[in-house]
């Protein structure tokens, strides 16, 4: 077996074991600077007094925490970020190979692993290229210059006469020294510098070119890619019997018959935590089913009425944060006032593969293979839950099914860890069942937004008030009480008190501040601490709802101003890069020449800069509404994106396309259902998502090239604009505005009337 987690496609891969053992000249001397896990921002924290280093270099300032060169000249890059299907491995390899001047296929990448990589917090918030890509790019550039400097010393030539290419330093006279010749154990064990000699974008050979993703060949040929695919010696299969509802108490369980079932090794009970361990996977499933039947729970109704969800949430106590306030600059008489309220239900991550983890306790140390988004915070939570020192817990990221935020990944890791702690020696594989993933994943929070604005007599916005009501958008680990196992075990850890994620990135208020120029504006985040339903981070956090609301509202204002939606946006937009994506999308779509909306055919537009800090994205789309049924058929979509310096153009297109299609599903179809006691959507019957028959005919993504500009994360840039473009196109098609998500066929039909 090759090293777990290594790319099956990168043939000359350095195995993890080789890395761990320090084979060859590879030096394992770097120190991981313990940094408190960063929040949902995913990003680095600057420690006081230290020089401001680029990207995540702040977290781990030694170059050899990021780049190492083996005695044979092969290079290894290290990142604390994880591959989630977003293609980050390929992008980071491109960045590193480009600056280090090594061939792409001579470079290996090690991803999130508490024994090997820097603590880069969570792989979240579209930060990976910004944080880790920037760190690796600068580390690689500095390493290259160090290697050139070493060559200059040995050749006795000025460094500026030498250049690096293909893992070799070349002198003007043709003399060469390979990196293998130059490297020594301490050469790269130096502190990073704030400034690097970065390559000119014109000389890029690897960056800004579409590179095939390194993980795809393995994924389409049955390679061992996912944590689900791992088979370790002596591995046992576990299944958890979850309570039927939040807060249910285990009353009685009769384990006798299950213990005698074929293959059953152990039943683990710890408070309300109940699991069964068996030799074979299907034995574990059958035992889990029997155990569930043999268990009685005490449940109580504690969930809000789904039909009154918005009213219930609005009635809960709030903590108000005014996140933006601009007093009136010029007094203009407001001519027209417009106001609107928008709502979003709870949304599920709904990964196609339910969560899975493997844990093994050996000699007092626990190893956990997990598809968590944050190996360090997960380690902290697991260690606290089991009363182990963090150094005794080793978390290794192995890919899972796409997660789109905080799904069951960490909880499955917690489950595996708790079971493994009671069945020492054996690797314990916990695979969540489909219904467990749906019933127990923390959902993307339900939200309500209210917008009020006035137009002056010239049809420009004079005045803007906006409020967003939301729970927190992160209940991620760190604390043991963030894990279900931690909450359910006898020594129950309370869930940590919820906190709003701070601006400028924000949580529920992410993208609540419009990028538009407004003479007077106030934006308030009404943070709701009480969480009737388990919630956490879902891709783009509050941005989906805030951009849906703001961009729907911009269309409502444009209508009141008798203005074209794109022209109206441009009138209020000064940022030249924002204007560029808006005009690019409109031009490529043929916005000006579009058919007038009506009779069930409409066009819509949406724009945002994700977090007002990351990628810019504008989307235009055309759709048809079937009048008799309300069914939406999206015809074509054009997106324009500015991600700063592009690393992998096709990778960006893949992310933007994916975000758009996922947003179509969220926006048109999805909502979590529940009664007063239980979550009711537990499978694809009850939580339907986009199917192929409803996929658009065409999606085009246009990249606005910004050579030399900082990387801007794009993984969450398109969801908000896509949702608004859909709502606006539906309004254009039927002449009615829908403000309640999801925009289902039934709701559209009700708006259309007979």
């Amino acid at each position: 077996m090759t090293a777990v987690g290594a790319d099956t496609s990168v043939r000359r891969s350095v195995s993890r074991r080789a890395v761990l053992q320090g084979t060859g000249a590879l030096i394992v001397t770097f120190t991981i600077f313990p940094v408190a896990s960063s929040q949902e921002t995913g990003g680095a924290k600057t420690s006081a007094g230290a020089p401001k280093l680029p990207g995540s270099l702040t977290n781990a300032p030694f170059l050899d925490a990021w780049i190492r060169i083996d005695a044979d000249g092969s290079a290894t890059a290290f990142t604390g970020k994880a591959e989630l299907g977003q293609g980050i491995k390929t992008a980071l390899l491109q960045v590193t190979a480009e600056e280090l001047e090594v061939p792409l296929n001579h470079l290996t990448l090690i991803t999130a692993d508490t024994a090997l990589t820097a603590d880069e917090g969570y792989t979240a918030g579209s930060h990976s290229t910004q944080d880790s890509g920037t760190a690796l790019r600068n580390a690689a550039a500095q390493a290259r210059e160090i290697l050139i400097g070493e060559a200059a010393r040995r050749m006795n030539l000025p460094a500026d006469q030498l250049k690096a290419a293909n893992g070799t330093v070349i002198a003007p006279n043709g003399a060469r020294l390979s990196y293998a010749d130059l490297v020594s154990p301490t050469l790269l064990h130096v502190q990073a510098q704030p400034n690097s000699k970065l390559k000119d974008p014109d000389s890029f050979r690897i960056m800004n070119r579409s590179q095939p993703r390194v993980d795809i060949p393995g994924k389409v040929t049955g390679g061992s890619v996912y944590v689900q695919d791992m088979r370790l010696p002596g591995m046992l299969h576990a299944r958890v019997v979850r309570p039927p509802s939040y807060g249910a108490q285990l009353a009685t369980v009769d384990t006798g018959a299950v213990e005698r079932m074929p293959g059953v090794v152990r039943i683990v009970r710890d408070g309300n935590f109940l699991a069964v361990v068996a030799e074979r996977e299907y034995q574990a499933i059958k035992a889990m089913r029997s155990l569930a039947v043999a268990t009685q729970w005490r449940e109580r109704p504690a969930l809000p009425k789904q039909a009154d969800l918005a009213a219930t949430l609005l009635s809960l106590p709030v903590e108000d944060f005014t996140i933006f306030e601009k007093p009136v600059s010029t007094s203009t008489a407001a001519a027209t006032a417009v106001e609107a309220t928008y709502t979003r239900p709870y949304l599920a991550h709904a990964s196609v593969g339910p969560s899975c983890a493997i844990a093994q306790l050996q000699d007092g140390s626990l190893t956990v293979w997990t598809h968590t988004q944050g190996v360090y915070p997960d380690r902290q939570a697991i260690a606290a839950m089991l009363g182990l020192a963090p150094e005794k817990v080793h978390c290794i990221h192995v890919e899972g099914s796409g997660c789109y935020g905080h799904n069951g990944a960490d909880d499955a890791a917690g489950d595996a860890a708790l079971i493994a702690s009671q069945v020492p020696g054996h690797p314990i594989r916990v695979q969540w069942m489909r219904e467990q993933e749906f019933a127990w994943e923390p959902f993307g929070p339900a939200m309500i937004t209210k917008a009020h604005a006035s137009l002056d007599s010239s049809g420009r916005i004079a005045d803007w008030d906006y409020g967003v009501w939301s729970n927190t958008h992160s209940t991620r680990p760190g604390p043991a009480g963030s894990l279900l196992a931690g909450q359910h075990m006898a020594r129950a850890f309370p869930p940590p008190p919820p906190k709003p994620l701070p601006q400028p990135e924000g949580g529920g208020d992410r993208n609540a501040i419009p990028l538009y120029e407004l003479p007077r504006a106030k934006v308030v985040h009404h943070f709701i601490p009480s969480m009737p339903i388990r919630v956490s981070a879902l891709r783009s956090l509050g941005a989906h709802m805030n951009v849906f609301s703001i961009e729907s509202f911009m269309d409502e204002l444009a209508l009141a101003a008798h203005s074209d939606p794109v022209a109206f946006r441009l009138e209020h937009l000064n940022d030249p890069r924002a204007r560029a994506v808006v005009t690019t999308a409109a031009d490529r779509f043929g916005w000006a020449a579009r058919q007038k909306g009506g009779n069930g055919r409409g066009c819509g537009f949406g724009f945002a800069r994700y977090k007002n800090l990351a990628a810019y994205c504008a989307i235009a789309l055309e759709l048809e509404v079937e009048r008799e049924t309300g069914r939406v058929r999206v015809q074509r979509i054009v997106a324009a994106v500015d991600t700063g310096q592009v690393v992998n153009p096709d990778g960006i297109r893949n992310q933007i396309e994916g975000g758009i299609l996922q947003s179509i599903s969220w926006t048109l179809y999805e909502s979590v259902s529940f009664d007063e006691t239980r979550i009711l959507c537990v499978d694809w019957s009850t939580y339907p998502i986009l199917r192929f028959d409803s996929v658009p005919n065409r999606v085009d993504v246009d990249l606005v090239d910004r050579p030399g500009q900082p990387f801007l994360g794009c993984g969450e840039a398109s969801q908000g604009p896509a949702s608004a473009a859909l709502a606006n196109a539906i309004a254009d098609a039927i002449g009615k505005r829908l403000r309640e998500l999801p925009l289902t066929a039934a709701r559209i039909k009700a708006a259309v009337g007979i």
């Binding site: 994924k219 299907y282 196609v352 694809w684």
Partner: protein
């Protein structure tokens, strides 16, 4: 009991009521077919049985004696990918990739029966398979490309059976 998978006969010790998926993954150590729901609702576990797309998570192996089972591993290898695999690589038709093997097997069954199939028919067939990353546009392109590759003599030669 005996199962014929990717052209090879395997003797497996699993109980006859075990769904095929667990036997493929645990006994035969084949990774491609994925557990997605165990309910026959998502298509992640799709394999081919006698040329038809079948959901391996709900079919007990006792139904499969004497039948030809094929998984993605039977379509080719990482060193010698078959046309369907090549098409997915060339179109970069994956994000997390978890649903992709199921998509490939349903598409393979369709194209083996009807190499000239229409876009509408590809969508209709794939309706049973879910993708959460939103890779649909690329999956559709990859299936169309696979149809072309299968009809091109130099790429259509071998659909695997390499084991």
């Amino acid at each position: 009991m005996e199962l014929k998978v990717n052209g090879r006969i395997h003797s497996v010790a699993a109980a006859p009521d075990t769904p095929l998926l667990y036997v493929l993954r645990e006994d035969l150590q084949l990774n491609a077919a994925k557990y997605g729901c165990g309910l026959g609702q998502c298509g992640a576990c799709t394999v081919m049985v006698d040329g038809e797309a079948v959901l391996s998570c709900v079919v007990p192996i006792l139904l499969l004696q004497g039948k030809e089972i094929m998984t993605v591993e039977g379509l080719g290898s990482i060193d010698k990918p078959g046309p369907m695999q090549r098409a997915f690589i060339e179109e970069q038709a994956a994000q997390c990739g978890y649903c992709i093997p199921g998509m490939m097997m349903r598409a393979q069954a369709l194209l083996q029966k009807n190499p000239q199939t229409s876009d509408a028919e590809i969508r209709r067939q794939l309706e049973q398979n879910l993708c959460r990353c939103g890779t649909h546009m690329r999956i559709l392109r990859a299936v169309r490309r696979a149809a072309q590759l299968m009809q091109t003599p130099e790429t259509a030669v071998d659909t695997g059976r390499s084991t």
